[in-house]
């Protein structure tokens, strides 16, 4: 039984690592800030969740598992706020490449106002 759990933990850890890696690569390779925010903030959350789940399975009877849940919880609370602010500031200061945006309904609204 523990062997099965170990294998599941390994798969989760590897999947989390792969997603975090892809997030890092995306951060470098995407051309503008808005696209980068998507990779910087978010495959990272799923990646982190998978890694924490993997660690949790390995640690399980230990009460410190709770700390892992807290880490994930506070990431989930704080990351959206940070990425929203970064995206909003980027848009408002014009640091958005409009050639990379197919449809921009916010610009249309601002033009109308």
């Amino acid at each position: 039984m523990t062997e099965v759990l170990d294998w599941i933990a390994i798969v989760l850890l590897l999947a989390g690592a792969a997603l975090s890696f892809a997030a890092g690569v995306g951060l470098v390779r995407f051309p503008d800030l808005l696209s980068r925010m998507h990779t910087a903030a978010k495959p990272q959350i799923v990646g982190l969740a998978l890694i924490l789940a993997g660690i949790g399975l390995r640690l399980y009877p230990d009460p410190r598992v709770g700390v892992l849940a807290l880490i994930l919880l506070f990431q989930i609370f704080t990351v959206p706020v940070a990425s929203h602010i970064a995206g909003r500031v980027a848009y408002r200061t014009g640091r958005v490449r409009s050639d990379l945006i197919a449809v921009d309904e916010l610009q249309e609204q601002l033009d109308r106002d």
């Binding site: 995306g26 696209s35 990779t39 978010k42 709770g66 909003r88």
Partner: protein, 208 residues
């Protein structure tokens, strides 16, 4: 809570008896205590008592106002919401990761206006948080007065891309209101959803 609340939800009633004021703050203190116990990693009664004491002292020292939370809770819809958001997160994380590795320079995004169908501050905050949490959608701007959310989506492919993005976000909103809305919020939601197709579809037609 029989407190009348302004829409800013920060009205602190002073005329309430002391036990009601304490009672309203109890959940926060309990949550702080739970965090304390979890961080110590030692669920013994001593830790819990110490945590409760520290939480109470911190809470009274900070003099935080008590904000009456006006939310409902329907477990079956909450579960659907968690599944929906979890599925979105996994799927779009993989998608965005793939685009990051493969042709990132050609990936297009879109900023889409999404009229919201709720007027509750709590629901709006949770909604924009959830939307920003999911990979591939990012809230750029929230127009509180007109009730419109501007969401940047990535990747958006083909002419149907913006519509798919809109549908996904609106589904999240629907589940969120069903899971956490009060009866009033549900009423507002149905009203707005009912009057919508004519106005919104017409405007969308012009833009397209």
């Amino acid at each position: 809570m029989t407190v009348d609340h302004g829409s800013s939800a920060s009205t602190v009633p002073t005329g309430r008896p002391w036990y009601r004021r304490l009672g309203g703050r109890l959940p926060t203190v309990l949550w702080l205590t739970v965090m304390w116990v979890v961080l110590w990693g030692d669920p013994s009664p001593g830790t819990a008592v110490a945590g409760f004491a520290v939480a109470s002292v911190c809470y009274s020292a900070a003099r935080l106002p008590h904000i009456p939370v006006r939310l409902g809770f329907r477990p079956q819809h909450a579960l659907r919401l968690v599944l929906h958001v979890g599925y979105d997160m996994l799927l779009s994380s993989v998608r965005v990761a793939f685009h990051g590795l493969w042709r990132p320079k050609r990936t297009r995004g879109a900023i889409v206006a999404i009229p919201v169908r709720t007027d509750s501050d709590f629901l709006l905050a949770m909604f924009s948080g959830l939307v920003s949490l999911v990979t591939g959608t990012l809230v750029i701007e929230l127009n509180r007065n007109q009730g419109v959310l501007y969401v940047h989506g990535l990747p958006v492919n083909g002419p149907d891309g913006p519509e798919e993005l809109r549908a996904q976000v609106r589904r999240t909103e629907e589940l969120l209101v069903l899971a956490f809305g009060t009866a009033e919020d549900l009423e507002v939601f149905r009203l707005r959803a009912g009057e919508e197709p004519a106005g919104a579809a017409g405007e969308r037609g012009e833009n397209g």
